[in-house]
Symmetry: C2
Subunit: 140 residues, 2 copies
């Protein structure tokens, strides 16, 4: 299955998260990022999101949307696109481990819900506190 990814965040966080992923993984042609900046309208962001989704629909089997957090304008915009894209999957809580895991396994995992759930678990496991004790345990 050929999948694309659309990242939507407040500000340029999503755009730069994709660029940081590219530093680690090389160019990511199937990932687009949009940001909502001060003074920009939510309607304009929605139009941009539809533009990406419409374009992707001609090239890819599906688009998975990632947003920075549940409850802000980026997540509201992505939820509103469910009106046209009924089967769209949206993931909240964007992080680099989440994005990288999705990208790493998108070509080998046909089942989209499994891909997403596995990536969510990897992203959750990737949130850890480390300190001197962590290093001592690791060294044992």
């Amino acid at each position: 299955m050929k999948r694309a990814f659309l990242v939507i965040t407040h500000g340029d966080m999503g755009i730069e998260t994709v660029k940081s992923a590219e530093l680690l993984m090389g160019p990511l042609e199937n990932v687009t990022a949009l940001g909502l900046h001060p003074g920009e309208s939510v309607d304009s962001l929605r139009d941009q999101a539809y533009e990406v989704l419409d374009k992707n629909a001609k090239i890819y089997d599906e688009t998975i949307v990632l947003v920075d957090l549940l409850g802000g304008s980026p997540s509201n915009v992505s939820l509103s696109t469910l009106a046209r894209y009924r089967d769209l999957k949206i993931i909240t809580g964007l992080s680099l481990p989440l994005l990288i895991n999705l990208l790493n396994f998108t070509s080998s995992e046909e089942n989209t819900e499994k891909l997403i759930n596995d990536s969510i678990n990897v992203a959750k496991d990737g949130i850890k506190m480390i300190d001197k004790n962590f290093l001592q345990h690791k060294g044992k």
Copy 2:
């Protein structure tokens, strides 16, 4: 307890994540972000991290470090600063919910490990898949 935060990532992801948090929370004077860019040395990033930590040590009771993911240069640099800052706490898997929760509760929570563990749990809960079914359940 007066806490500062230092965000270190590949590229400008961290810098823009802090700016996105500022869009939601207003100016964040106690947060500094550093990025490792192509062609820049890890030694230079370590020097910059020490510069921030040394400066913060004069103003704040402690600095909590956040990095994009465990295992890359930003996390290695932050781990190396444990040589001078033995009690430093580092959190891997930077996301907007993680950063916002830390900032929201830093002034009310004296116990640093509790602040961090609570914020990690909030960040983990904030990673969700939402789709048309989620909306239907929410509407019930």
